[in-house]
């Protein structure tokens, strides 16, 4: 990923920030200047809750370029405590133990490394709540 592209989204990757619309109340994990739901520009940054549960998941055995060394790994569609949904890897767990409804919490991890000269990308993943 290019540095400017990564840099723009750091508030989301590092702090799980998203956008809330003051016109229609729509909350999204995306960083946006215009509400994707109603088109209003009266929006504010918001921090999303760090805990939630697994809504759906998959175990990736054929990863895209850049993720080979994690193979296999679990991707979860997580429903956060406020109802917002978000994607992320589920770690520190045997893939066989992941189930729909599993309670998870955000954790800060290394996501991927862009070859020898590219940037190291960090961000959130999720792990089971013990």
């Amino acid at each position: 990923m290019s540095v400017p592209k990564y840099w723009r989204i750091i508030p989301h990757y590092y702090r799980l920030e998203g956008t809330i619309c003051k016109n229609c109340g729509y909350k999204t994990p995306l960083i946006r200047k215009i509400c994707p739901n109603c088109g209003s520009d009266d929006v504010e940054r918001v921090r999303l809750p760090r805990e939630g549960e697994v809504y759906s998941y998959t175990v990736v055995y054929s990863p895209p370029e850049g993720f080979e060394r994690h193979n296999p790994y679990v991707i979860g569609l997580i429903k956060l405590k406020d109802g917002t949904k978000i994607l992320g890897q589920i770690v520190d767990v045997d893939p066989e133990e992941v189930k729909i409804g599993l309670k998870v919490r955000m954790t800060f991890r290394r996501i991927s490394v862009d070859g020898k000269s590219g940037i190291i990308q960090y961000g959130y993943k999720f792990k089971p709540v013990k």
Partner: protein, 381 residues
């Protein structure tokens, strides 16, 4: 009001065409279609393609295709809507004829995937149909996004792996009769169930293959004398782009709206449809496509498989030429193959199993995770 007819069809066999370039492959299908229509030129060419920039390092593709086809001077457009690029090109061509600006145009869908030789490379290229910042960032492949849907569908409706297997088995069976299909062999349930995980619960045998192919159509606003096939309806719609923003992960909302729009334009109801070509890039998408077209309620698409309704002699013959699963899925070409197959079936000269006098065929082409959807309704005489 202008009507739009299909007057020529051309296809290449879907395969690994190592010795052909993306533009050359497109021009082959285009020349076949032109010959079939008995034409030497058209007013414009619409090229449907997704990956030429990434996989073939070639943009400005439409102009290059025109040069390969020996049609210098012809206006040309590349239309991109991920896996629905083919149908998006048809829709654009359709609109150009409806406007009255053009009288005869060509549509060619093309994808040359084998120029990318690594699995990780093509996986990454295909994944660009999803959001690079909020989805791909986490190591999500396009297959993984579909797997999230399949996992949830199986959970909510108690679907077993062997239920999905019925889809793959039927598609392979249909493809054995299609000379243009990529995978012309039958598979067994045992082979389906023992195929490797790509992104669990998606197995290798749930996935459409990687291949090269081009399909072309000549569209005209002049009604042909013999067996006119009319594009009677076109419907399109977009959905919330990212998987995690969908209110209902299990409904292809945009496909549903696109179908409603296309049916209204063609003045038909789901019960009137004689056959469909749906977008089974993965088996789960085949099932959800049937639901989106109004052929089954939410969660009941899988019953159409279990009851044998999707078979050539069933109530709703589906993907008679093998579908994406076995005909193949050269992404930007797929939507054009679908419509080409339906029009040959309506003419009575199908490339696959032959139906008895079908009159109405419907194609559904999905772009991305069904974030950009196109439905095309064809009517025979």
């Amino acid at each position: 009001m202008v009507s739009v007819y299909i007057t020529g069809v051309g296809m290449t066999k879907i395969d690994k065409h190592w010795d052909t370039t993306v533009s050359e492959l497109a021009s082959e299908a285009l020349r076949i279609a032109l010959n079939e229509a008995g034409m030497e030129s058209v007013d414009a060419v619409f090229v449907g393609n997704m990956l030429s920039g990434i996989v073939n390092s070639q943009e400005n593709l439409a102009s290059l295709v025109v040069s390969y086809a020996g049609l210098y001077g012809t206006p040309a457009f590349k239309v991109e809507a991920a896996c629905a690029s083919g149908a998006a090109a048809i829709a654009s061509a359709f609109i150009s004829l409806k406007s009255g600006m053009f009288k005869d145009v060509a549509v060619v869908g093309v994808e040359k995937m084998s120029d990318e030789t690594s699995v990780e490379g093509i996986t990454r290229a295909l994944a660009t149909a999803a959001d690079s910042e909020y989805e791909l960032y986490h190591g999500v492949s396009f297959t993984a996004l579909n797997a999230l849907i399949m996992q949830r569908y199986s959970y909510e409706f108690n679907v077993k792996p062997e239920d999905y297997g019925l889809w793959s088995i039927q598609m392979h069976k249909n493809a054995t009769m299609n000379p243009y299909a990529q995978l012309r062999f039958e598979i067994t349930m045992e082979k389906y169930l023992s195929s490797q995980w790509i992104s669990k619960p998606i197995r290798f045998m749930d996935c459409s293959p990687v291949g090269d192919g081009a399909a072309a159509l000549i569209l005209s606003s002049k009604k042909p004398k013999d067996s006119p096939i009319e594009i009677a309806g076109v419907g399109m719609a977009t959905d919330k782009f990212q998987s995690f923003l969908r209110e209902d992960l299990l409904t292809l909302a945009a496909a549903k709206i696109a179908a409603k729009r296309a049916y209204n334009m063609a003045n038909i109801r789901p019960e009137d449809i004689d056959m469909v070509e749906v977008h089974d890039a993965f088996t789960i998408m085949g099932v959800l496509s049937l639901e989106a077209l109004g052929l089954a309620e939410r969660g009941e698409g899988i019953e159409l498989l279990k009851n044998g309704d999707i078979k050539p002699d069933g109530t709703i013959p589906t993907n008679l030429a093998g579908g994406l699963k076995a005909r193949g899925h050269p992404v930007g070409a797929t939507g054009v193959y679908q419509v080409a197959e339906l029009s040959l079936q309506l003419r009575g000269t199908p490339v696959g199993v032959k139906l008895d006098n079908p009159n109405i065929g419907v194609a559904l082409n999905l772009g991305g995770l069904a974030s950009n959807c196109y439905v095309t309704v064809l009517k025979g005489e």
